[in-house]
Structures are given as structure tokens and as C-alpha cells.
Symmetry: C2
Subunit: 348 residues, 2 copies
């Protein structure tokens, strides 16, 4: 039976990926040198396409890493010497805070109860903070932080660096990248790629301020190679190629259309569960509801529901951590068609 | 035209890889959860197969990282607090030494002139050294360090940890892993896989002594997840799957046969160039000659030769760094058939 994956990443492959993999094999992409012209052209085109799709400023840098956890580590190592400040609205923002502690920084945090939201205007960030960290879209809780809250922080604290986890909201999110200094995502979420590639976008300001702690993946080393369209190490060449191809496909479709479709599908799902008697959206406040990772409280436990869906070829994520059996998480990525979403909802 | 890649990595795919990729796509491997039963089984089987193929002791641990440069960084962060000692016989052993400096250690080194070799018995390693680093097979120079020299160090310095770069000699090398504490390679060399997966093998002793510097990829974090057949981050699931499948294929063929074929092909190449008037093997001393990455001095410059080969669909590596135009590097991996090697040699 053909399966549909609504899991929050790895997830359903973007519809064109299988074709691109086959083409890549014919073109010997996995065998080409990571120091040769053919690869450098792939690197350059992938970055250019990403910059066009996401409207990333020209003077921003794109680095390819192994995962988004690596992006977290590298951002903290490079963008803060002593103090980072964190908005915690789930397990992944919490992880970034813990990474900061492990790296010997003295982080501070404000805890958000995701289901009710938060008044961002009230927050006071200490003078000593070098780096402000936000998780735009919390894959664990399904809470989204509206981008205007990020812009407000930028205005209030123009000299501090701002890092944003966009792991499960890219490419859907509409972010003015000129107002942040680091943003990162992974291929296996919204781009519908095989896992194993982290993408880190950084401002020129962040690169200039970088502490360059570490070795091959400090910002100075990454920058040195990026300038010649290479990575310090032999990177995940195949997935960089696939990211480039999928991004081109998305450019052809148009980011406006992708956003519109994502919102329509999200509305379908939220409207359905708002009216459902037993199973309700976890995030109550609408402006904090993620459009891409939708968390639903399941009255009678997620286990039975997931099992039933599976017998129909539909794979949905369980809740995260302590909510594993109380919730389900539904990915709503560009890979998911409206028809697939409608099919999914029929089972509730 | 169908190409053959004799480049030292990325290189020719192992003959079964394309089939395994197609099977993986049919089985939705890129979409499965990295926390689910199916992935955990793949992880476990891949590690078990690798342990069988390379005769890795049962109580050793296998961690999946992003690249071999990452393995270098993680070994240094975890296995040494102040002092590492390095045998330098090319650019990659030099890189490990530089990483040690960048991480704030005080490394020492002994420099080897690869073309003439070295008397390992003479070396005295300081008392303060915590970690001894060797590059078994130098991809840049084509020098191999005989494994008995590693065993001799183990006997002489039983309390120090030993790390060995086996990046371009695995799976061919015949190493008693119980005599080393860390060894690492990447998929895109001898296993003939797409790039983007680093494999780090560590002894229980190394894990117990680990300083656990860093975050998600310190040894404690890697171990915690390895014990449940997972990685801390979403790993390169597809390539872990492919590594497992190719390792199983190699087990079926038998490591003894793979080693024998590798040595026969290496002999073909070295004998040919030993008799060649213009182009000679770079490494003079036979016991220091690599069987898997063979470096040849090209009298009239590598450029013309590489260009000519390319017109016949044969891609060979240039020399490394300052030897780029003076040498070529020929990979002799399990992916390369005797027929392909014979075809290559005809053009000299």
C-alpha cells in the first residue's frame, strides 16, 4: 500500500524528489568531486535559488551543516561569548538553552506556556545578552511566534544578534531575514528531502562578530569555503543537489501559492478539530497556532488513532515527550496535498 | 558516455548502490521516523554488519556523524584535555594536528617524509600525552602506516588513547580494533556510498574517559542514543540504510576476497608505474605504499593526463595541494573492478 507521511520530519518527500534522485544517479552526482566545477555550480545555484525563494538578502551567507542540532551548536559557539537569552515554548527551544549551558555560557530564559501564548512586549532582555534565541515554529508544541514579535525585538535591541529556529516553518514562513542574524532549517521538513542536511543562514554582521570557536565549522572556516562555493568537509552533495532542484520547483510554483495552499490546508485542519468534540487543537490562541506543525489533543489517547490511521496507509506523528500519548502532531508541508489532508481528516 | 570515477572520494558508487537507493525509495526509507522501530532496526543491523565485516569488538560503539572532519573534532574534544601527539604524513594528519591547536590543546608532532617513510620505533611520546593520533592511510600523499606500528605504540604506551584515521583504507584495512580507541571513516570512500555520513568507532575505554565537551555530539550524548539504536539528531537515515545494505553485500562476498582483489589491483597499478619511464609511484618504500589511494608522480604534469582520461570517461584525482599538477591520485576501492583498472592503465 502507498503510504502518506504526515509526520513532522522526516516526512513525505516533495513530489518531485524521487525523479530528481533518479536524474542525479544518471548524472553521477554522488561521485563528483566536492572541489570541482560541477559541484561548485550546484552549490552556487542552490544558494541563489534559496535566496530567491526565501527573499534572503544578497549579503547573507548560506552554510551547509549536518543537522539543525549542529546549527544550534555552531550559532552558540560563534555568536555568544557569555550570555544568550531564550524564549522557551517547547522541547527544541529548551534544547538550545541547554546547549548554551553545556557550552559554558550563562543563558537566561523566559518560559512560555504554549497553549495560552505570551505577551512578548513585556519581556526585558538583560544588557549583557549578546544573542537572542527564538524558535519560530516549535515542532514539539505546535506554537508559532509571530514574526512581528521578532521585528519588535530587533527594534528594541538593535545591537544584539538574533537567532531564529525555522526548522519546521521554512519555506512557508514569511520572514524578513534582514531583521535576524541566524536562521536554520533541515531538509527533511518543509522541503520534503531525505534527512542529513542542515541549512544555516547567517548575516554578514554575525560572520563579522563571530568568535570562531571550534574547527572546520566555525564561521570563519565556513565562510572561507562558501566564498568559493564549497564546504570545509565533503558535504552531503546529493542532498544539496536535491535541495537546489526542489527549490527551483518551488520557485516555478511560486512561494505565494505555496503559502496560500499551506494556510488553506491549516484552516481545514484547525476548523475541523475546533468543531470536533473529542479532539481539540492544543494551541488555543489562534495567532500562536503553527500552520505547518499542528498539534491536536486526543481525548482517548493517540495510540489507537495512530494505529488506525496506519492501517489506512497514513502515518502521523505522536505527541512529543510527555505528551506522546496525549497528542498527535500533523505536518502540513508543501509536500502534503489538500486531497491527502481531506483523506486524513475523514478518520476522525 | 558511462563514466568511471577513480577519484579518492567521492568516488565510484559500489555496484549495488543504485539498486539499493531504488529499493529504499520504494520502502519509503527517507520518510520513516528516526525514533521509530523501523529505523532502530536499520541502525542496529548496520552496526552489527559493520562489526562483523571489520571484526570490531562487541563492546565498541559506532556513532554516525556528518563527516570525517566532524569525527576529528569530536575525538579531540572527547579524548584529550591538554595534550595530543600526531604523526604527520600528509594534509589530513596535519589537519587533525591543527584542529587540536584550534581546540586549545597543546599538540606535539613528528613529521614524516611520506616518500621515504619513517622508523616508528624511534619515536618517544611525552608522558603528558593523552591521545596519540595516526592517519592509517593518508589520502593526500598515499602513504600507509603499517598496522604493526600502531600495535607497537599500543604496547609501549598502554594507558594512552589511540585514534586512527581510516578514512580511505576502510573496509580494506586489516586492523585489530581492540588495539585502538577511536577509528573513523566516511561513506564516500571505500564503501562507495554518496557523501554525507561519517562513521566513528570508539572503544568502551574511550567512552568512559570522555571529557564530553560539546553538546549533542559529545560521547555521552552519542552513547545515550546509540544504546537505543538512534542518533541524537535526525541523522542521514538513507545513507545509514545504504551503508547497512552495502556492508551486507560485502559480507556475502567476504572481506578476505575484497582484500585479495584490492591487493591484486594495487599490484597491477604499482608494477605498471614502477616500470613506466615517465610516471613513477610517489611512495618509494613498498611497505609504506597505500593499496587504496595510489599517488603517481606525473612527469609532464597531471593536467594533460587527466584531460585525456576524461575524454575516455575515466575520472582520476589530481594531486593534493601543492602537488595538484605534479601528481595524480588513483583510488583502488572495492567499487573498482580489475577490468576498469586495466582500462585505466592502457592510457599511460
Amino acid at each position: 500500500m502507498k503510504k502518506i507521511f504526515f509526520t513532522v520530519g522526516p516526512s513525505q518527500l516533495y513530489p518531485t524528489v524521487v525523479g530528481h534522485i533518479k536524474k542525479a544517479l544518471k548524472k553521477n552526482i554522488p561521485s563528483i568531486s566536492h572541489r570541482g566545477d560541477q559541484f561548485m555550480k550546484i552549490y552556487e545555484e542552490t544558494c541563489q535559488s534559496l535566496k530567491r525563494l526565501l527573499a534572503i538578502p544578497k549579503n547573507y551567507h548560506i552554510f551547509f551543516l549536518g543537522s539543525s542540532l549542529e546549527s544550534m551548536e555552531r550559532i552558540l559557539q560563534n555568536c555568544a561569548d557569555k550570555h544568550s537569552f531564550h524564549f522557551i515554548d517547547g522541547a527544541f527551544s529548551q534544547k538550545l538553552y541547554q546547549f548554551s549551558e553545556k557550552l559554558g555560557l550563562k543563558p537566561e530564559k523566559v518560559e512560555i506556556i504554549p497553549e495560552v501564548g505570551f505577551d512578548f512586549a513585556k519581556v526585558k532582555i538583560p544588557k549583557k545578552t549578546e544573542l537572542i534565541c527564538l524558535t519560530h515554529n516549535e515542532t514539539s508544541s505546535g506554537m508559532v511566534i509571530p514574526v512581528k514579535e521578532i521585528y519588535r525585538l530587533r527594534k528594541k535591541y538593535p545591537k544584539k544578534l538574533i537567532a531564529v529556529d525555522i526548522v519546521s516553518s521554512a519555506p512557508y514562513l514569511h520572514l524578513d531575514f534582514s531583521k535576524v542574524d541566524a536562521a536554520f532549517f533541515s531538509g527533511q521538513k518543509g522541503f520534503g528531502l531525505p534527512a542529513g542536511l542542515g541549512v544555516l543562514i547567517v548575516s554578514d554582521r554575525a560572520v563579522k562578530k563571530a568568535k570562531n570557536v571550534g574547527t572546520y565549522h566555525n564561521f570563519a572556516s565556513l565562510l572561507k569555503y562558501e566564498l568559493k562555493n564549497q564546504s570545509p568537509e565533503t558535504p552531503n552533495v546529493l542532498t544539496i543537489y536535491l535541495l537546489g532542484e526542489v527549490t527551483k520547483d518551488m520557485l516555478k510554483k511560486g512561494i505565494a501559492k505555496i503559502r496560500k495552499e499551506t494556510e488553506e490546508k491549516a484552516k481545514l485542519i484547525y476548523d475541523f478539530f475546533d468543531k470536533n468534540k473529542e479532539n481539540k487543537p492544543f494551541i488555543q490562541e489562534k495567532r500562536f497556532r503553527s500552520s505547518t506543525t499542528i498539534v491536536i489533543n486526543i481525548k482517548n489517547g493517540s495510540k489507537k488513532v495512530l494505529k488506525k490511521l496506519k492501517t489506512h496507509g497514513i502515518v502521523v506523528g505522536s505527541g512529543y515527550g510527555e505528551n506522546k500519548e496525549k497528542q498527535i502532531r500533523i505536518a502540513n508541508f508543501p509536500s502534503h496535498s489538500k486531497q491527502a489532508v481531506q483523506k486524513l481528516l475523514k478518520f476522525f
